[in-house]
Every structure is written in structure tokens, then in C-alpha cells.
């Protein structure tokens, strides 16, 4: 704000740029490899900018698997998951943080406990349930659970809700607002950053989930991108450059999405600023 800070600003930027480079490098490496020939990708001397740029890797990667179909499938599954988690998780978190009731601590404890059991031992019983319900082969086993909430997101949101002063809610209660109204009109708008966080996490986790789609989708045409990536790898040989090109195509939409989502995120702060 004043001149004294300009020197400080410089160090700020310096640190930010330095760390950014570390974060950026492996990603640039991925992009760079995706544009190289196999020989160059494995040559002894490393060049960030390929000596000859092989755009055709992208075309080949695109042709090797039904990229558009897989993208469509992935988008559908991801969106349903994001919607499900966004509807349900804040509700549950509200019930665990802002309502004084008998199950508050118990339910929270059980939610935490469910996270402690490794999936490997529950996977087969869960699969058997879906199989009994005759739903293996549909997207239901990998979308419906989103509408029951996810332990990780519930816990995060609960912690966020706890930091909202009760005084605000009590004021509204005195004005005669219903619990649901308080939740939807006061708490939710206050927690936009946290909600954005949950949306982003759900998006990412569903987008790159491998085991879920693999287990439950039984037809190649309904596959998602993360399974598709396997098709660049054979038993004794991996098409590295194509794999990297596909990974880049897999990643870039999320990068763009995140870039815009986090602007919303910044807007969120402005609203939370109104707190008192």
C-alpha cells in the first residue's frame, strides 16, 4: 500500500516464482515429452523444447483410443458426482456442526472411523451388493454414492462450519427463520470457498478415478479416460510419448476449469468478508 512495501513485494514475487518453477517443471516435462519422438524422449541430453516438435503424438494418442467417447463418459460421471456431493455434504456437515443433537458426536465419530478402513477389504463385499442389485455395468455404482456424501468432504465442511460464529445463526433464529432457511440463506453463502473446495476435489477425484469405473463399467464404450490411459501400455513396452500426450489432454481441461473456478473462489472471500 505504501512505498515501504515495494521491496517486500519483490521478495514475495521472487519466492512465488521460484516455488512455481518447481511446481511447474514436472508438468512442463510432461508437455515436452508429449511433443518428442520416442528416441528424443529417451536421449541422454535433455531439452525442454523438443528438437523437432511432434504434434502428431496428439493425433496418434487421439486416434488410438475413442477419446471423445471416453471424455463424454468422464464428464457425465464427474458432473453427477459434483452435483451429488454439493447437495448432500454441506447439509450433513451442517447437521454435525450447527445443530445440538444427540447424534452429533457419534455420527461424526463413525464417519471418521469409516475412513480408517482400507478399501481393499470392503471392495468385494460392496461389489457383491451392487451385483445383487443388478447394477454392475451401469454408472449407478459410481454416481449414486455421491448422493450419500463422502466422509472426507463432510469432515472438511464440518470444520469450516464450526468456524462460523453461532451468534449470526441465533440472531436469525430470533427473527423466526427456519433451520433450513438459516442453512441455505446464511451458512451456505458464507461458505462459498469451502463449497468450491469440495466441488474441485470431487471433480478431480472422479475425473481421475481408476478402480471405480474399472470395476463397475463392463463395456469398453462406457469407459472413462483414466482407464483409457492404460491402452498406451503393453506388457513389455509403453508408448511413453503417446501416454504423456494423452495425459496432457486429460489434464488441460481441468487446469482451465480450475483457473476459472478459483476466480469464483476469490469472489467467495469477498462475501465472507461480510461476516460481522
Amino acid at each position: 500500500m505504501n512505498k515501504r512495501t515495494s521491496g517486500k513485494n519483490f521478495t514475495k514475487y521472487l519466492i512465488l516464482i521460484l516455488i512455481s518453477m518447481i511446481f511447474l517443471f514436472p508438468f512442463l516435462f510432461l508437455i515436452s515429452t508429449s511433443l518428442k519422438s520416442m528416441d528424443e524422449a529417451f536421449s541422454n541430453s535433455f531439452h525442454l523444447i523438443p528438437q523437432t516438435i511432434h504434434w502428431d503424438n496428439y493425433i496418434k494418442a487421439f486416434q488410438k483410443i475413442p477419446f471423445l467417447t471416453y471424455t463424454k463418459n468422464t464428464v457425465v460421471i464427474t458432473l453427477i458426482n459434483v452435483i451429488g456431493q454439493l447437495i448432500v455434504c454441506p447439509m450433513i456437515a451442517y447437521g454435525l456442526s450447527k445443530i445440538e443433537w444427540i447424534g452429533k458426536k457419534i455420527i461424526f465419530g463413525i464417519i471418521l472411523a469409516t475412513m480408517l478402513i482400507p478399501y481393499q477389504v470392503t471392495m468385494i463385499p460392496v461389489y457383491m451388493i451392487w451385483n445383487k442389485l443388478n447394477l454392475v455395468g451401469t454408472i449407478i455404482p459410481i454416481t449414486l454414492p455421491a448422493f450419500f456424501g463422502n466422509a472426507f468432504y463432510i469432515i472438511i465442511l464440518t470444520q469450516f462450519f464450526k468456524t462460523i460464529p453461532n451468534s449470526i445463526l441465533e440472531a436469525a433464529k430470533i427473527d423466526g427463520a427456519s433451520e433450513f432457511r438459516i442453512y441455505s440463506k446464511i451458512v451456505l453463502p458464507l461458505c462459498k470457498p469451502a463449497l468450491a473446495t469440495v466441488a474441485i476435489f470431487t471433480f478431480l477425484n472422479t475425473w481421475s478415478d481408476f478402480l471405480g469405473p474399472l470395476l463397475y463399467l463392463t463395456e469398453q464404450k462406457s469407459w472413462t479416460l483414466s482407464i483409457g490411459l492404460q491402452q498406451y501400455m503393453s506388457a513389455h513396452y509403453v508408448e511413453w510419448t503417446l501416454l504423456m500426450a494423452a495425459s496432457a489432454m486429460f489434464t488441460i481441461p481441468i487446469v482451465i476449469l480450475f483457473f476459472f473456478a478459483q476466480k469464483k473462489f476469490v469472489e467467495g472471500i469477498v462475501t465472507t468478508g461480510l461476516k460481522d
Partner: protein, 414 residues
């Protein structure tokens, strides 16, 4: 009129039944280009069929196969490695094929050792689609440079050669040329054990023998080489080479003089360094035991029918096709796998595959062995590999390590 109507309806129904081919679900673990090859074979099969239609699904993770078979919704036919036959068969999830084979008098042509890898407790639980054996690849130029005009024939020669073939960078001291087949690790201790006259189980199949003369010789050989050259240095070299074959694979670029590997290495050399002057030879035999020459491990890729299969006849029809002369031949030609049939070893089209001749000759010699097939065989192998690693890295002495192994593996056969 009524009669005509009746006949018409009958015809329509029959047509419907017959045009509606029965679906056979086939899941396979192959990925990448191998998957494309398999899909082509499925297409050929479907075109030849009026009764069955095979639907292929790539399942690149064994967890799905297991979960699905366990909940009775698995494939009708699937593939795996012979290393799982004992385990799966003992748990009742594989259907024995002996009766079907007898009924259709099918199976005489399979290479005996390959068919044996599919057996457990005397019954046949799968059929081999291809076999894997490893041979000694050698770089002719590097050997010549070191003054050799032929490959090492015995274990004694192997270590002599290796030490002479290994070259270090004069400045950094790092290995420049690796003279020993010490990469990739997974392929060679089992192979060397067999080649040097050992076995992992007694003839009667009742006792495991992790401490056998073959393994002893193999581990001694590897340890002596590593100790002389420097364990760190070798780790640096081998871990740089990675897990999969890549264009900078040390053998392909000419930095590895001797290499134990499978037939697929041929096609990769052809793709990345067609000028490489190399040869393929048998693994070394123990000094003074020429009768053991041509030894090594034989394993196979196996097709099997889960006992939960809903269309066993259809599954069998498909196995007969893909493991038959036509299916197996196209599989072998497309990805260089060695076919598991005697007749195909002599097939002129297959003999055209680079390096195939050496592999075929060795198989016909009949000195190859397979890893014992029993329910805990995977555990046995990984326990041995863990101990071997400690021994060859000098963390444990040969005697201590093998003694520990003998104790640890005692209850695996129970």
C-alpha cells in the same frame, strides 16, 4: 390357412433363435497393442461363427477379475499366467478341461511342457496360448572387442566373460558397459537356477527346495559379479534402465553385452536399433554338465474357463479357436510370442519371425522346466525373490539367506 400361419410363426421363431447368437464374455488382461491383436482374433472368430458371439473386454487389473468371479458375475472365459493356475484351481474357480479335451480329442499338439504348466493335481485347468522362455542375447561387437568369438557356454565362462566385458567410465567410474545379464532382474535368477541344474521342488512334489545347487550357483555368480564391480554402481546402471523396455534400453543401445530376455526383445531391437549386431544363444550350463545345456524356465499365458462361466460350451469353442492353429498363429505372428504347439514351431510363416529359430530349437530340446504349480506358489516366489535380493546385495550371506528361506517356506506346501 391355419397350417401356413403355424409354419410361418414357427419359421420366424427358429430364425430368431438361430440368428440370435449366444454371447460369450471374454475378459483379457492384455493392454496396448496386445489388446488390439486379441480384438482382431475375436473378430475373426465371430465371423466364422453362427452359434456364438464373443464379446471382448480389456480388464487390465486382476482385482476386477477376482471381484467379479467371486460374486458370480465374471467372464465366461479369460486369460491369466500359468503362475496362478495352482492357486485358482485349488479354490475351485477353474473348470477342469480334461473331459472336453477328451470328447473333442483336442490337445495332442500342445507342447508338453507348456500343457504341464496348466495342470494342477493331475487335472488340466487351462490351455496355453503362448509360451515364454528366456535366452541369452549377446552383442557380437562387444564380445569381439573383448576378444571373444563365441558366447559363454558355462557358468564359469559367464563370470570370466562378464568381468572382461564390463567397462567403466575412466572419469566418473560409473559403469559404461554392463557385461553381465544383471538387467532386468526379474527374468534371470529363476532362469539361471533351472539352467544351472536346480529345481525349486523335489521330484515327488512333496518338499520345496529353495536351497538347491542351481540357485546356489546362480546367486554366487551374481554376487561375485556385483561385489567385483560394485553394488551401488550396478544399482545405478540397472535402475536407470527402468522397468519396461525403452529406446534407451542398455542392450538396445549397445551398452549391455549379455542379456537374458524373452522373444519380444527381438522386435524392439528391430524397431529402435536395427543395426545392432547381436545373436541369441542358450543359457550357460554348469561347468562339466553339458547334458544340461539348453535349460531354463518355461512359463505360459493361459486361457481358462471360470467355474462360474455361464456359457461353458461357448467358452470352450472360443478357447479351441484362440489356442487352435489359426488363432495361435495370428497371435504369435502379431506380437512375437512363441506358439505353444509343436506343429506351429515348424510353420514357415512363424519361422520367419526374427530370432524364432533359436527359441524353437531350444524348446524342442526338452531341457526346460517350469516353476512348481501349487496354491502358494506366488508367495513362494516372492519370498525367494526378497531373500535373493538381500543375498546378491551383500546384506546377507548365501548360507544364512538360504537357510532362512528353507525355514520360512516350510509351511507353504502344507
Amino acid at each position: 390357412m391355419k397350417k401356413i400361419f403355424f409354419i410361418a410363426v414357427f419359421t420366424i421363431i427358429t430364425c430368431l433363435i438361430f440368428s440370435e447368437r449366444q454371447i460369450v464374455n471374454f475378459w483379457y488382461l492384455w493392454t496396448g497393442n496386445d489388446a488390439v491383436i486379441v480384438e482382431n482374433i475375436i473378430k475373426d472368430f465371430n465371423e466364422s461363427q453362427t452359434t456364438y458371439e464373443v464379446k471382448g473386454l480389456q480388464v487390465p487389473d486382476v482385482q476386477k477379475q477376482i471381484a467379479a468371479i467371486a460374486s458370480n458375475s465374471g467372464p465366461d472365459v479369460t486369460d491369466n499366467f500359468n503362475t496362478n493356475i495352482g492357486s485358482y484351481a485349488s479354490k475351485g474357480i477353474l473348470m477342469p478341461l480334461d473331459q472336453l479335451m477328451k470328447r473333442d480329442s483336442y490337445g495332442d499338439d500342445f507342447i508338453k511342457e507348456a500343457l504341464n504348466t496348466c495342470k494342477y493335481n493331475g487335472k488340466t485347468y487351462g490351455l496355453p496360448i503362448g509360451i515364454t522362455t528366456m535366452m541369452l542375447y549377446y552383442n557380437k561387437d562387444l564380445l569381439k572387442e573383448a576378444g571373444y568369438d563365441r558366447v559363454p557356454l558355462t557358468d564359469k565362462e559367464l563370470i570370466e566373460y562378464s568381468l572382461k566385458l564390463t567397462k567403466k567410465d575412466s572419469e566418473t567410474g560409473y559403469i559404461k558397459t554392463l557385461g553381465f545379464p544383471d538387467f532386468p532382474f526379474v527374468y534371470y535368477p529363476v532362469n539361471l537356477t533351472f539352467a544351472l541344474g536346480g529345481d525349486f521342488i523335489t521330484k515327488d512334489g512333496k518338499t520345496l527346495t529353495p536351497d538347491n545347487p542351481g540357485t546356489r550357483k546362480a546367486l554366487e555368480l551374481i554376487y561375485n559379479f556385483r561385489k567385483t564391480v560394485g553394488i551401488d554402481n550396478i544399482q545405478r546402471f540397472t535402475s536407470s534402465a527402468g522397468g519396461y523396455v525403452t529406446p534407451n534400453d542398455p542392450f538396445i543401445v549397445g551398452d549391455q553385452a549379455l542379456r537374458i530376455d524373452g522373444p519380444w526383445l527381438n522386435s524392439l531391437i528391430k524397431e529402435y536399433n536395427p543395426d545392432l549386431n547381436f545373436g541369441i544363444a542358450e543359457l550357460p550350463y554348469p561347468e562339466g554338465h553339458k547334458e544340461l545345456a539348453g535349460g531354463g524356465e518355461l512359463s505360459s499365458s493361459v486361457m481358462f474357463i471360470p467355474s462360474t462361466s455361464k456359457n461353458k460350451e461357448g467358452a470352450w469353442a472360443f478357447i479351441k479357436y484362440i489356442c487352435g492353429k489359426v488363432g495361435m498363429k495370428s497371435f504369435a505372428i502379431a506380437n512375437g510370442t512363441t506358439p505353444a504347439r509343436y506343429s506351429l514351431l515348424k510353420d514357415p510363416d512363424i519361422q520367419k519371425i526374427d530370432g524364432f529359430k533359436e527359441f524353437a530349437e531350444r524348446i524342442e530340446k526338452g531341457n526346460l522346466k517350469s516353476f512348481p504349480s501349487f496354491p502358494n506358489q506366488q508367495e513362494y516366489l516372492s519370498q525367494m525373490e526378497q531373500e535373493w535380493e538381500l543375498i546378491i546385495n551383500g546384506k546377507e550371506s548365501l548360507d544364512d539367506g538360504l537357510e532362512k528361506l528353507t525355514k520360512k517356506t516350510l509351511k507353504l506346501l502344507k
